[in-house]
Amino acid sequence: MNQEVPAVRMKNITKRFGPVLANDRAELTIYRGEILALLGENGSGKTTLMNMLSGIYYPDEGTIEIDGREVVIRSPKDAFALGIGMIHQHFKLVDVLTAAENIILGLEGRLDLRKSTEKIRAICDLYGFELNPEQKIYDMSVSQKQTVEIVKVLYRGADILILDEPTAVLTPQESDRLFAVLRKMRDDGKAIIIITHKMHEVESLSDRVAVLRDGRYICDLPTASTNAQEMTDLMVGHSVTLNIDRPEPVNPRPRIEVKGLTVRNEEGILRLEDVSFTANSGEILGIAGISGSGQKELLEAIAGLQPTESGTITYIEDNGEREELIGKDPLKIAAMGVSLSFVPEDRLGMGLVANMDLTDNMMLRSFRSGHSLFTDRNTPRHVAETVVSELEVSTPGLSTPVRRLSGGNVQKVLVGREITSAPTVLLTAYAVRGLDINSSYTIYDLINRQKKDGVAVIYVGEDLDVLLELADRILVLCGGRVSGIVDGKTATKQEVGLMMTRVGGTANE
């Protein structure tokens, strides 16, 4: 196979952002008819490299060859002309238009919606996409929107596809369907590059893996001849253990009791309906569900940030005293002596202030302490120092704005701050989203330590493999309702996956 002319060959690619070397003489080769998994930790330069291939950035040095011919890609338009299409993590679709309208948006030439629709149908039939070209985007699920994005690049004639973490937002069933389509496209002779952090996906889908570390190309090898352990070690640069601990809960007692919780959002749409459960101390309660099934509203309601319609959320102290949390804002909840920590999904937009440095971000929770008119920056600085050294945050210094840190380090800062206050309840939303293996395991470890300290942990996650390994019990949400609560040790992925799509998880529901 290696005798053929590669579809893409990137040679000696270097890209700097100011003093930061994002790519350092990186190499990448991909052939037609194969799926290449691009592996690397956060900040290893995967996305930057792909952005240069798709014309978003321009390399400082190095050359790109397409089918053996040297090319210059100055813009996404150039990339499209060369048949390169990228499907980003965040979809770029117009909500009020139909799938077909979105697909042809921006194309030159005469507008002929009927002809385009036919062509879209033909593409869907060829690869087995399930898509209604006349459906409006706002009516679509996340996975349908992703399908539109993929069809969009195929429609424009792309035969080199780049997918940036495509399964982050999908259920296991949807991921399987996507993989089937990708395999079909590979058999059709397309070159596919997929960026993912999930090892089991790499193993089941890809033909070859290429590993980047610190912006440099490390090696590439056939997937069949390697395994998750070896790939992880290559990415990280040293050996790591890939097991998530699940210590037995010690002396679990009810800590948070939610009963009949119903929440409507600002538009009056029902987001949570009659949700009831109990979270125990010293236990991790996993929450599974397709994204947007009410996870965010549930956590924010407990944290006092989300107005509720009906139901109760009761905090139970160790001595059995009960306190109602509904109708109280975060300050009042803290004033009651309830130490509740919350790691929100939107780290830089909610949990932290992107433009502030580490010290000032540590201060967010504690700046009110004391009667002085002035802020005390010494204590937060010490907290920041502790977090940086204990969680191995890589940062140029404490006065670096957190927006300059990589995703994993941002999350370590946020989680680090939230657990310094010695919480009794820890809420986390997608705590490892976008994090590489190494950082993810650091976070799992931190969460487990909290559990051992008797904290009631509520862990909203998207990777079912992880939820099944980490959580003691899993509550499955489906469209804002509790689909069921299962035991983390005995539940299977298929079972939880079905419950995510249908309340109760049975076919006849």
């Binding site: 952002f17 804002d329 202030v353 433009n355 700046f367 002035f374 802020t375």
Partner: protein, 367 residues
């Protein structure tokens, strides 16, 4: 390599953190470049020697001790209004109503001087002026803030409109309190008794204003950088969601900060009426409420840098006035020069944040 696969002539990339001296080097060269461009334009359009024009500009500010005092007084008043709008700007609340808030302060001061002059002693009137002018400015600032906090109205439009209300209000009372009768103007208030005039410090008419604003500048620097209030303002400005997440009451911060912002504008009004002008006109604030926006932005909302930027702007204004009288040039020509200089200074920000990478080696190899 054929034509259509040529590397672009240049591409733009973002710089990381830039060392302070690099950014000042870039700003410095921007000012130099601006002066060169101004010189060329001056020669082409007027035939005057640009060196003489620059000398006149400097003369306009530093020519005589009196000119220096006027320069300092103008800087201090502009700085005062700039300091006032800055906390709001840090909160991303675009208060362009500094003009109206300061005018409300002017109005309150003048009202005290006129209405209370026969009933209260001198010192009591001054106390009333201080309290009412700050309260008037604060009220003018708080009204848009309350609407913003409660109903999320657009603060830019609202504060702008409040300017016109203040102007009309003053215009009306200029006629009510006119002196002498029939002139439609107020003239110098209490010119004989000097009731309600702020004391002259150190024998210099403008020194009091300068001292007050200098102290205010230091206080504002500390307030924004080191107080809990300042921290809350910064968090609300950066992300309201983060503020709510940590339990900051965003509505309260918006109203509190605008009370402060408006209050300091009111203080500027007090100084203008009580210390400098002793009269009330609709144009007393003289556009400082708007110029302050530029001063504050150019200094990146840093009160200490604002001393420099307000100096720059007043210096240019005074110089522009000087050349229009000395060379018989139109005032507009001076405005053109000011515009060019500001364009270069603002434009230099681009080069501080971004780097241009020109087509390199590849082109030469072809030859």
């Amino acid at each position: 390599m054929n034509k259509d696969t040529r590397e672009p002539l240049f591409h733009i990339s973002k710089r990381g953190a830039v060392k302070w001296y690099v950014s000042w080097l870039i700003r410095g060269s921007a000012v130099l470049l601006a002066l060169v461009v101004c010189a060329v334009i001056t020669m082409l359009m007027t035939g005057e020697n640009p060196i003489r024009i620059y000398a006149t500009i400097i003369n306009g500010s530093f020519g005589t001790p009196r000119k220096i005092w006027v320069l300092m007084q103008n800087i201090s008043m502009l700085l005062c209004v700039s300091l006032a709008v800055t906390p709001a700007f840090r909160m991303r609340f675009w208060n362009i109503g500094g003009e109206g808030q300061a005018l409300a302060g002017c109005f309150a001061s003048a009202a005290c001087m006129i209405l209370l002059r026969d009933t209260l002693p001198h010192w009591a009137i001054i106390c009333c002026m201080v309290v009412t002018s700050i309260a008037a400015g604060a009220l003018w600032g708080a009204i848009p803030a309350i609407f913003k906090a409660r109903w999320n109205t657009n603060e830019t439009l609202f504060t702008l409109m409040m300017n016109y209300i203040a102007t009309q209000l003053v215009a009306y009372f200029c006629v009510v309190w006119e002196s002498p009768k029939g002139s439609g103007q107020i003239g110098v208030i209490n010119s004989r008794t000097e009731i309600g005039w702020l004391p002259v410090v150190g024998g210099q008419k403008y020194l009091l204003n300068i001292i007050i604003v200098a102290v205010l500048c230091v206080l504002m620097y500390i307030y924004l950088g080191y107080s809990k209030h300042g921290y809350e303002i910064a968090v609300v400005g950066e992300s309201e969601r983060t503020a709510r997440y940590v339990g900051i009451k965003v509505d309260r911060i918006i109203i509190r900060t605008m009370l402060l912002s408006g209050g300091i504008c009111g203080l500027a009004g007090l100084l203008l009426v009580g210390s400098t002008n002793h009269t009330l006109t609709t144009t007393l604030v003289g556009g400082r409420g708007f110029t302050a926006v530029m001063v504050s932005w150019l200094a990146k909302f840093n009160p200490v840098w604002m001393i420099l930027t307000s100096f720059l702007i007043v210096f240019l204004e005074r110089g522009a006035g000087e050349i229009s009288t000395n060379f018989g040039l139109n005032q507009s020509f001076a405005d053109i020069l000011t515009g060019i200089i500001l364009f270069f200074i603002i434009g230099s920000d681009f080069f501080i944040n971004y780097r241009l990478n020109f087509r390199h080696a590849a082109g030469k190899e072809l030859k």
